[in-house]
């Protein structure tokens, strides 16, 4: 991508920023420059300090050292409100909106259209609708935000920030829970804003997206600046080396052939399983040593399928079997007892217990499975925690750190560790690689393969079709809360999956199967 | 005709109060009065609500045991407008409301304190005496009055001095706890010559505290308290308590009679029907007193 040669004064200039949390030095003398009208990717491994840098810039965290200049003038925002007033709008990494407020209120909180000191509700809703329409979202903006999926919440957060951005827009992993279509829309809007001279900071672990949208790239590693490059002149492998500080081992797809997977033993099966108003009844067989991918658009019923399979939601029809024997899956406890594990997609609310340590989070499911009277001794806990911290490269490698203080990607790894520690027979992963850096991403995919080789059955949901296609032995495609298509063996590739997702009339016949 | 009378009772914060309620019921059934009791759980606002609902039900008379002396004017005016006579039981209200009620059947709590003080002065004679006082609930008018009466009575005697005074909230447990610390603070109890408690319950607790500290209540330390509940007579029998001032739980009896006379013959009773504040000591046959009070619901 060609950028203007005119240097101009930088829009946002950050010099020598340092920030420590107790003994953890999250940022050390980091410089960062954002020009007007550019889209600037901020990259790095999980825990590199990206989110921290953003929060320092917007005044959420006080900085230990360094200066921030906006349009050449030194600024020192001391709260998110001050940053907003200075013209910096931000979407933070975790969806940071209020589920109890209506969508419209979320979009216009603290800046509602007013008349005589009274909020003009109708006007606000109209504007909210218009704002969301730009993202192709047509929802009831008077309903509480919490009624909607993470994706909708994320889009709302982005829409709010975009509407607010006066000079600088910062997006911390905005695309993690969006599908292709929505990403396209977002990119369109970002380009439009950049065209108007707004500087955009974009954090993502999807390198394809980085190359598609960004003009320049700044890379952080372990809280230090590694370098700043023009995107166009930075080869992908070079970028990965900058981020990881080493070469990335290639992952190879070792998909089983169609014949092979028939031969494997069935680990769990679901016949005519479903719940009215939730997911249409489906048939699903999960075999030892096999990865089944669930593909579909947002809201197509993938999470719902996962929750039914695990027992987080009670089915009202059908029969579940484990190793051939009929079982009842009514609560998560039942699932855990039968050797199932489930990494939910909403890490913050359904996954981690923020206040507890990494160690405690890792042993939680194992302990729940063993029961009260068989506590894991402290030594056993330490061993388990140490093993997984090493295996999954959780950073910082301190098992006694409250998990809420870890970076998003590392929290995801802790969740994975929690279930691996229970030595499950079936693991259900809902968006396991969301927010995970390239290095760890490769690690997790490798891990998934290894687990399968050890006989584990896996049910994986991912919005990354490339990813699903890489590791799945079978792919089940969902649409409108029904299982509509199953692809196996050689039939699995991105084109076929996309076709199955998109096909409307063509595959309707399959629905009769469900 | 059978009378229906609404009684706004304070609550059941003490044994004495429970006895008053049960004696009122007994007296009512003796006279075939239909007595409606509303328990206010110690809250004035509940008493006002109760009176209002009695008015709404058009009862023949209202008995009120006011939790506090002020704040009754407007609700009693409503009762007056509705031509329902009101009788105060056990406690008086602020003088400004004199014309709003028919009569008040109460003891004089300042007088009670004075009776206790006079007894102590007489018993101690001329020797110096350090007194510790267990007050009732802070802010309660009875507590203030019993303190006032006692203080006035002993003020005449230079040898009597209240050295410590704390609230025991009218309860046994607090009475015991406070007495414990009084004993510690006054040289293991050696410097204390008498205890005055605003009610018997606190005194029963204090007696326990003295015994646990190795003191002999009633001998090493004199006791005087108010109410005359059965348990204080038990202590007197055991020689552990010296004196109490009686507050009769039968306030309703005279009140019923006054209302009946007023309703039937139009006799207007005196504004104040004062109950007797008898002093009872070990010399007054505590066993007999105990037996007569045992069944009254204390």
């Amino acid at each position: 991508m060609e950028t203007s040669l005119d240097p101009g004064p930088p829009l946002l200039e950050v010099r020598g920023i340092s920030k420590s949390f107790g003994a953890v030095r999250a940022l050390q003398e980091v410089d960062f420059t954002l020009r007007a009208g550019e889209i600037h990717a901020l990259l790095g491994e999980n825990g590199a300090g990206k989110s921290t840098l953003i929060k320092v810039i917007t005044g959420v965290f006080p900085r230990d050292a360094g200066v921030i200049r906006l349009g050449g003038e030194e600024v020192a925002p001391r709260s998110a409100k001050a940053a907003l007033q200075a013209g910096i709008a931000t979407v933070y990494q975790e969806v940071n909106l209020l589920p109890n407020l209506s969508v419209a209120q979320n979009l216009f909180l603290d800046r509602q259209p007013m008349r005589f000191g009274i909020v003009r509700e109708g006007e606000m809703r109209r504007r909210a609708k218009a704002l969301l329409a730009e993202f192709g979202l047509d929802i009831d903006v008077a309903a509480p935000l919490g009624n909607y999926s993470v994706a909708v919440q994320h889009v709302t957060a982005i829409a709010r920030a975009i509407d607010l951005s006066a000079r600088v827009l910062i997006l911390d992993e905005p695309t993690a829970s969006l599908d292709r279509h929505e990403v396209e829309i977002l990119f369109g809007i970002m380009r439009q804003l950049a065209g108007r001279g707004i500087g955009i900071v974009f954090v993502s672990h999807f390198l394809d997206q980085v190359y598609e949208i960004s003009d320049r790239i700044t890379v952080l590693r372990n809280g230090r600046l590694v370098g700043e490059r023009e995107t166009a002149s930075l080869p992908r492998l070079e970028l990965i080396r900058m981020m990881l500080g080493r070469e990335l081992a290639e992952t190879t797809s070792t998909r089983a052939s169609a014949g092979e997977h028939q031969a494997r033993e069935v680990c769990a099966s679901f016949e005519n399983y479903g719940k009215a108003g939730y997911v249409a009844p489906f048939n699903l067989e999960l075999r030892h040593g096999e990865v089944v991918g669930l593909a579909g658009l947002l809201g197509s019923g993938r999470t719902e399928t996962a929750r039914l399979v695990f027992g987080a939601e009670r089915a009202d029809r059908g029969q579940a079997r484990v190793e051939g024997a009929p079982v009842r899956l009514q609560t998560p406890r039942d699932g855990v007892r039968h050797g199932f594990g489930y990494c939910p997609e909403e890490r913050k609310t359904d996954g981690i217990v923020a206040e507890l340590t990494v160690r405690e989070n890792i042993v939680l499911a194992l302990q729940a499975k063993r029961g009260l009277h068989r506590p894991l001794s402290r030594r056993e806990q330490d061993e388990i925690a140490a093993r997984y911290v090493r295996m999954l490269d959780i950073r910082p490698p301190d098992p006694e750190r409250p998990v809420g203080l870890l970076s998003g990607g590392n929290q995801q790894k802790v969740l994975l560790a929690r279930w691996l520690a229970t030595s499950p027979r079936l693991l259900v992963l809902d968006e396991p690689t969301r927010g995970i850096d390239v290095g760890a991403h490769a690690e997790i995919i490798r891990l998934i393969r290894e687990l399968c080789d050890d006989g584990l059955a896996l049910l994986v949901i991912s919005s990354e079709l490339d990813e699903i296609v890489t590791y799945s032995d079978r792919v089940v495609v969902l649409r409108d809360r029904a299982h509509v298509e199953e692809l196996t063996g050689e039939a699995i590739d991105v084109t076929n999956v996309l076709a199955a997702i998109a096909a409307d009339g063509a595959t309707l016949a399959h629905e009769g199967r469900a | 005709a059978e009378l229906t009378i609404g009684f706004s009772q304070i609550g059941s914060e003490s044994g004495w109060r429970a006895a008053e309620t049960s004696v009122s019921k007994q007296e009512a059934s003796k006279r075939k009065v239909n007595l409606k009791i509303a328990d206010a759980q110690q809250k004035q606002e509940n008493q006002i609500k109760a009176i209002r609902s009695f008015i709404a039900q058009n009862v023949d008379a209202i008995f009120l045991a006011p939790v506090v002396s002020t704040g009754w004017d407007s609700v009693l005016k409503e009762a007056k407008e509705a031509k329902i006579p009101v009788v105060l039981l056990d406690r008086d209200i602020d003088p400004s409301g004199k014309e709003l009620y028919l009569t008040a059947v109460t003891s004089d709590s300042v007088h009670e304190g004075a009776v206790a003080g006079d007894w102590l002065a007489k018993t101690v004679g001329g020797k110096a005496c350090n007194i510790v006082e267990l007050q009732g609930t802070v802010g309660a008018s009875v507590a203030a009055n019993r303190k006032k009466g006692f203080d006035t009575a002993i003020a005449k005697h230079a040898n009597l001095k209240v050295v410590r005074s704390q609230t025991g909230d009218f309860t046994r447990a607090k009475g015991k706890e406070v007495m414990e610390s009084f004993i510690k603070a006054e040289g293991g109890g050696k410097n204390i010559c008498a205890v005055y408690a605003h009610n018997d319950d606190m005194m029963v607790g204090a007696i326990q505290a003295m015994k646990e500290a190795g003191l002999k209540p009633g001998k090493d330390i004199l006791t005087v308290s108010i109410d005359a509940v059965p348990d204080i007579f038990k202590a007197m029998i055991a020689g552990e308590a010296n004196a109490t001032v009686e507050l009769t739980p039968n306030m309703a009896g005279p009140a019923f009679d006054a209302v009946a006379a007023f309703k039937e013959k139009g006799t207007v009773p005196p504004k104040w029907i004062q109950t007797e504040s008898r002093l009872l000591t070990a010399a007054d046959n505590p066993q007999k007193e105990y037996d007569s009070k045992k069944g009254l619901g204390y």
């Binding site: 998560p332 507890l356 729940a368 | 447990a173 607090k174």
Partner: protein
């Protein structure tokens, strides 16, 4: 042993020492101890002895609060169980009396737990119901009277001594050790903290969160029952009107002073009991000081605020000292 006595106890211990020093200043004989009828006698012993009911309550309360709950009914449960114990004391042996009283506490706890865990009511209203009705039940048992008893066994529970220590203190100590052993010796502690920290996530991890919630309310009920029996034994009578009145607030205060968040999660039994002792040290100090009782509440308010400010993470000076101390530890 960080599980039982976490590093964060410094502020509480400091507060206790300061208040003890103030007590010594207002009452010179504060630290005097002597043996009286085989029982230690002195203001310090009073602090322990009088602090026992709140300490027992806070042992149950801290677990409830750790699950993000609250139990307003403990005072009423004390009254119920004290009433039951007192009414049975003269006709039955101590084991029967205790079994009946503790059983009643357990039932009360089950009721609260049922409302919260099964019916999904908000803890504060769920327990408000028993707070209101429970005192009525207690008065129903005693018919509003103070039911006295003379059974020497039960009286011993209130006034006896073990190795010079008042029996109630020994019981509280025993309960602390028992609760500690149960909670930290099994996985209960971890699972309770997980439930309080994030109930949804814990449920999905296979933790029986309902069972946890039920269990803590039951335990809270049992602790309150024991406190009720001791309060009755102390005055040789059950005072249904006043036993445990407003003690729920003291128990909650003790738990919070002990550093447990009202939003659930991490808890500490030892610090909760320490919180109860801090409150009682202050109360005893007030009684010994000889100030008129009108000042009691003001003093209490000031002390509570001071103790809390001491713990506030925002008091950077102190936090700095704490981290430095922590940092020097190996």
């Amino acid at each position: 042993m960080t599980a039982l006595l976490p590093r964060r106890g410094l502020a509480q211990i400091f507060a206790l020492i300061v208040i003890l020093a103030i007590d010594r200043a207002v009452s010179p004989q504060f630290f005097d101890l002597r043996l009286q009828d085989g029982r230690l006698f002195g203001s310090l012993i009073d602090v322990l002895n009088r602090g026992t009911p709140v300490a027992l309550l806070s042992l149950g309360m801290v677990l409830v609060i750790a699950t993000r709950g609250i139990d307003l009914s403990v005072g009423a449960v004390m009254a119920i169980c004290g009433a039951i114990a007192a009414s049975l004391a003269d006709s039955h042996g101590l084991p029967v009396v205790l079994a009946a009283a503790l059983g009643a506490g357990l039932v009360c706890g089950l009721w609260n737990g049922f409302l919260v865990a099964v019916l999904g009511m908000q803890p504060i209203v769920a327990t408000l119901i028993l707070m209101v009705a429970g005192r009525g039940i207690a008065q129903l048992i005693t018919e509003g009277r103070i039911v006295t008893f003379s059974s020497p066994d039960l009286v011993w529970l209130g006034n006896g001594a073990i190795l010079g220590l008042p029996v109630p203190v020994a019981i509280a100590l025993g309960m602390l050790l028992l609760t500690g052993a149960v909670v930290r010796g099994s996985a209960l502690g971890l699972l309770i903290e997980a439930t309080g920290g994030n109930a949804r996530a814990s449920e999905l991890a296979g933790v029986g969160t309902r069972a946890m919630i039920l269990a803590v309310y039951v335990w809270c009920g049992v602790c309150a029952a024991l406190a009720g029996v001791i309060a009755a034994a102390d005055i040789m009578g059950a005072d249904a009107n006043n036993a445990g009145l407003w003690l729920e607030l003291d128990a909650i205060l003790a738990v919070v002073i002990g550093g447990t968040s009202l939003f659930g999660g991490r808890f500490s039994l030892v610090l909760a009991v320490l919180g109860a002792l801090i409150i009682q040290t202050m109360n005893t100090g007030i009684l010994l000081s000889g100030y008129p009782p009108e000042f009691n509440l003001l003093v209490k308010a000031v002390v509570v605020l001071a103790v809390l400010l001491l713990q506030s993470p925002k008091l950077s000076g102190l936090a700095g000292i704490a981290t430095r101390l922590r940092g020097t530890k190996p």
